[in-house]
Symmetry: C2
Subunit: 184 residues, 2 copies
């Protein structure tokens, strides 16, 4: 942030009095501009024994497969956001189940939430952010072409829990990715 | 938001092409200024059979009792934020336990997270945002002077779960408060 969103003056980076973190401060109107992590909300929609994935038509990770998910909007709950994103990206009629994974992603300054969901009608109508939507049997999941580690780990928990029939909420963090290895 | 934080130009409220929500858009540099819900992270610190509460020295809800909690910062996990807020507000040495409540508060455009925590040393050193910190036995909790419904419901879950000895993660939402009744 360079300019004050309240008055348009150039901002100063400083620790305000009584604060513990550096902020963007407006020395003209006094506004302190806080920045906060964002929430990503999504669903794991299941039809019979198959899982719905969407191939991304947007960056980051264009052309990889994801669970339907996106940024939570003002005024909605995490569940309402997950439902909205599933409709926007796959155009599918679902019944949202319980919150299933809550994942800290500090290097991305995000928290991810995935809900279990039951597909009520398997018809799909992908939106503009999706190249293609389709159902995958567990043995068909394109593990090497998934978009994000939060998607991979949510699917891993689901397939594991399916063995036992018990789907408790899982909370965990994604550590900072290791630096990419270069070929020798 | 009135001015573009990238270039200082006055913003226009509009639905950007391909979007579904109204945003603050800069017609000069093209920046779209998204706004997102914020996360509040806190802890339920326990010493022997007592719970640590802090009397707020700040608005909103000045002079009411709360669990230590505050806004999640960039670059931290929900747990790191809960630990940081507990130190800032009560100056107490804790060991953070599992994530315990995840609460949607859509009318405040927030999600709240509370962790169970074990107090390692009962010494307290309240910070500037706290008038007073002290430990309460369950029968001493000042229910009528608690700060927020997320604090009340987290304490209720804890006291209930203590009866059974099982502390699963709880996810729920706080509905919009009913309008205040006026005396007849
Ligand atoms: Zn200003
Ligand atoms: Zn601009």
């Amino acid at each position: 942030e360079k300019f004050c969103s309240q008055c348009g003056t150039e901002l100063t980076r400083m620790v305000p009095p009584g604060d513990t973190h550096e902020r963007d401060v407006c020395e003209s109107c006094g506004a302190v501009h806080y920045q906060n992590p964002r929430n990503v909300v999504g669903a794991l929609p299941v039809w019979e024994d198959k899982i719905l994935l969407c191939r991304r038509a947007i960056e980051p990770r264009y052309n990889t497969w994801t669970l339907p998910a996106g940024f939570m909007e003002l005024g909605e709950t995490t569940g309402q956001g997950a439902h909205r994103e599933t409709i926007e990206e796959a155009g599918v009629n679902i019944e949202l189940g319980p919150l299933y994974t809550v994942i800290d992603v500090p290097h991305a300054e995000q928290v991810h939430f995935f809900y279990l969901a039951k597909v009520l009608d398997p018809a799909l109508a992908p939106g503009e952010e999706t190249l293609e939507a389709r159902y995958f049997r567990p043995d068909e999941i394109p593990w090497e072409e998934l978009s994000f580690r939060t998607v991979i780990t949510t699917l891993e928990h689901y397939l594991h829990d399916r063995e036992t029939g018990s789907f408790p909420m899982h909370h965990y963090g994604i550590p900072i990715p290791p630096p990419k290895r270069r070929p020798a």
